[in-house]
């Protein structure tokens, strides 16, 4: 699929959100769209998915089957999880039996089985986001577009997202994903597109980029905030473990003091 000189603005006299974006993504490729809030990441993804039409330029060779996971799943609908997903599977062209099978498979896989009879407005944000993920996967997509897919998901499902992406890539699909939490470090082979001032630039990976693992000790009460901060800075949290007196890290003379009383130890890189 290729975006050729794509320009887009939301109102006739409004500012251009995308300015002359020209980019191509092929089968089996995944690209991560990065950038500050409001720079047009979601807009770019929606143009790619076919939700938004470019004001100028065009999108060519878009695969026939597109799965789009919006940033916020529209949960304000009078359906149960099962009824909604079955309906969307039928809309996607699956037969009744195939739709039922797909819904059962994806609700089981995403931990939605016990929510099948629950109405969409009653779901928590994270569970609703899983329904959004499920509807995009009911029919194997040739292009999967994920807008902040990790937002609100529990740890188990966050781990599942790269797995789903790998499956789409293995079937020669393409994947576009935006992320501001630093989770896309889980996608080591991904191309990295940065959107700024309406323009898109692609980071070229440097061959000599090496990775180090740093152990950090923080008080238990600050674990969540520290993890969030590190992720926001683009670091990957490998694991979080309780501290023990035997393997507690000793501060090195040249290193800044990590914490006064380190009851929890995490590894980041």
């Amino acid at each position: 699929m290729r975006l050729e000189n794509v320009w887009l603005r939301y109102h006739r006299r409004g500012p251009w959100v995308l300015r002359g974006v020209d980019v191509r993504i092929g089968p089996g490729e995944v690209a991560v769209v990065l950038g500050r809030n409001g720079v047009g990441k979601s807009t770019l993804l929606q143009v790619a998915a076919g939700v938004l039409r470019p004001g100028q330029g065009r999108v060519t060779d878009r695969p026939g089957r597109v799965g789009w996971v919006p940033e916020r799943f529209p949960a304000d609908q009078p359906f149960t999880v099962a009824r909604y997903l079955t309906g969307m599977a039928r809309v996607a062209g699956l037969s009744r039996a195939a739709a039922d099978d797909a819904v059962t498979a994806w609700t089981d896989r995403l931990g939605l089985a016990r929510f099948r009879a629950v109405r969409l407005p009653e779901l928590s944000k994270g569970t609703a986001q899983k329904v959004g993920l499920a509807q995009a996967m009911l029919r194997p997509p040739g292009l999967l577009v994920l807008d902040e897919p990790w937002e609100g998901l529990d740890a188990a499902t966050r781990e599942l997202v790269p797995e789903l992406i790998d499956e789409v890539l293995a079937a020669d699909g393409a994947v576009l994903v935006s992320d501001h939490r630093g989770e896309t470090i889980r996608l080591p082979g991904a191309r990295r597109w940065t959107v700024a001032d309406g323009a898109l630039t692609e980071e070229t990976p440097s061959a000599d980029e090496t990775v180090a693992v740093v152990e950090v000790a923080v008080p238990s009460a600050r674990v969540a905030s520290t993890i969030a901060r590190l992720r926001a800075e683009g670091h990957q949290i490998l694991r979080v473990r309780p501290d023990t007196s035997t393997d507690a890290p000793q501060p090195q003379p040249s290193a800044p003091p990590a914490a006064l009383a380190p009851p929890v130890v995490g590894e980041a890189r």
Binding site: Y10, V51, L52, D76, R90
Partner: protein, 229 residues
């Protein structure tokens, strides 16, 4: 596309908002038929006029009840043209259900009577004319409701304005002696024709007029949707 029509229809019927236009329609018809008994063609002609704004409002609610992001999800799944068509078709089916209620209603409340004078139309002929009058209103009302929907006009205030202008305009511009009757759908002319001498050529002309007006307004709706992205 059938699956998407069904999904939108079920989504509309399961919300309490589906009841509002139906109740409004029943109240209007109750007031209409409470005034006395009339022969079927005449009664149904006026009933169709009353239903025009009700069906347009019902269409707007049906299209608006779906969240914007869900509409975009449907668009990604089935494509732009089918998503648009499915919304209009779902609104058309809902309108036909309301029309069915409107056709049965006067018989339940004793609002219609058979031929009184020797030259009067038979009941089957009156029923056929009444059905034609109602079916003529459906595409025009669906088109107006779609044009007034959130996806077309954006803000809620503009939608109500389009709906009100369309509803009032259809009556005012359709009055006898109107200088620009073609700006409105022929619902008033249809009521007059149903009550009077319904020549085949007149029926054909009114049908073409209604279809052309509906097509033009649906064109406006599609253009607005395109402009809205």
């Amino acid at each position: 596309m059938t699956a998407l029509v069904r999904l939108r229809l079920v989504g509309f019927l399961r919300t309490g908002r589906a009841l509002a236009p139906l109740l409004a329609g029943l109240v209007a018809l109750g007031t209409l038929y409470g005034g006395g008994r009339a022969q079927p063609a005449e009664a149904y002609g006026v009933s169709a006029v009353v239903l025009f704004p009700v069906l347009a409002w019902q269409t707007k609610i049906l299209l608006d009840v779906e969240p914007d992001v869900q509409r975009r999800l449907a668009q990604v799944t089935v494509g732009v043209a089918r998503e648009r068509a499915a919304g209009l078709l779902a609104a058309g089916v809902a309108a036909l259900l309301t029309v069915a209620v409107a056709l049965v209603f006067p018989w339940l409340v004793g609002g219609v009577t058979g031929p009184v004078d020797p030259g009067d139309r038979s009941v089957p002929a009156g029923l056929a004319l009444g059905l034609w009058a109602h079916l003529l209103v459906v595409p025009a009302a669906v088109a107006l409701g779609a044009l007034a929907s959130r996806a077309s006009v954006g803000g809620a205030g503009y939608g109500v304005a389009v709906l009100a202008l369309g509803g009032v305009g259809a009556v005012v511009l359709g009055l006898n002696g109107s200088a620009v009757p073609w700006l409105a759908p022929p619902i008033m002319a249809t009521a007059r024709t149903a009550a009077g001498d319904a020549a085949a050529l007149t029926l054909l002309g009114l049908t073409l007029w209604a279809l052309a007006w509906s097509a033009a307004v649906v064109g406006g709706y599609l253009w607005r949707r395109r402009a809205q992205g």
